[in-house]
Symmetry: C2
Subunit: 209 residues, 2 copies
């Protein structure tokens, strides 16, 4: 049976129910932990709103809510101008989810959940040692959207990933690296490749790579 | 072996290689086809850049490239002010990918790939009949980002999904509905739930739902 919701049906839902429902509708989402520092405490926060903006220059965006548990992360990003994005592995989704607890600003989520901060000589924000795919970004654009959420777009300045997951054409097999994905607010998933397709052309039968 | 790329390493890559690599870094992405019309031709385009913006009001964003194959979609959205988002099923990822071919503006991707346009009495843009989860959106905000890509944020006005995938708390089990996800530019994946976690609190052991 198909259930239909009109806009007024959605508006009439209880707040938590609506949050769970609407958060499910944007499809599967990337599972990423954001590493920042205020110069003293290393902060780590899970986000599921990472989005590709462009490859040249390499730009990645994310949506942040300024008045929620990620406010320390956002404040560090504003203060320092840089942050790391680290893929969450299917092997430690529990630790990644636990970073969403409301720890005190001077308490490091790294310590609290059992993940290890790792620094490069050339980057001031902490990477996650346990992550297979890690990016260091500088803020390139930052603005407020119509509902008072904020969009942060970062330019990739450093990148670490396992050499053996990079295909000849540059595709990085994030499934082989055990990157997890998220649905809704709290469901974590592993993936199984169905197919990788060639470039699509009109009137040409699609082929698998 | 970990491979490191500095920013100048990334800038020195061949264009196609860089596109494949950088598109892999934002993690798993939602697989969605966007339905639009210019009043005559029903247009359908796959996007992997859908992102949750907020639940109250229900807002969903997506990133579009104005000078690529999605330019007809973007033009229809600007002209009509509305569009549909339809979850891609693991059962027809090939048809979804084929919508990325560069068809003529007066050729419908629905017909070309073998998907069925479906209209509701109260919504002017075409839904995809074969999709389990369908949203009708009105444009709420539209602007250009630093790299000349465009962000379209839509407000959900209609929503259709199978009643039996909605949990008591509002979470919609999109895995049960066979929603696919994407990595890179052309790899399609099914998912397997690892865990769904309770709300995280400091110093409280995480429990599964």
């Amino acid at each position: 049976m198909t259930k239909q919701f009109t806009r007024s049906d959605i508006d009439a839902l209880a707040q938590r129910y609506r949050a769970n429902l609407i958060n499910s509708l944007s499809g599967f989402k990337s599972a990423t932990v954001v590493g920042t520092t205020d110069g003293k405490t290393n902060n780590l926060a899970i986000v599921s709103s990472v989005v590709h903006i462009g490859a040249n220059p390499p730009l990645i965006g994310m949506i942040m809510r300024p008045h929620t548990v990620t406010r320390d992360t956002l404040s560090n990003i504003k203060q320092q101008g840089c942050y790391t994005l680290n893929h969450v592995s299917t092997e430690w989704v529990d630790k990644a989810h636990q970073t969403s607890a409301r720890y005190a600003p001077d308490e490091s989520e790294f310590d609290a959940v059992g993940l290890t901060p790792q620094f490069s000589e050339s980057f001031p924000a902490p990477f996650v040692k346990e992550s297979q795919i890690k990016l260091g970004l500088h803020v390139a654009q930052h603005f407020t959207l119509l509902n008072e959420t904020e969009m942060v777009i970062g330019e990739v300045h450093e990148l670490y990933l396992p050499e053996n997951i990079i295909d000849e054409d540059g595709y990085a097999d994030i499934e082989q690296a055990k990157t997890a994905c998220i649905s809704g607010l709290d469901s974590y998933h592993s993936t199984t490749r169905i197919a990788q397709f060639s470039y699509a052309k009109p009137d040409v039968k699609l082929t698998k790579k």
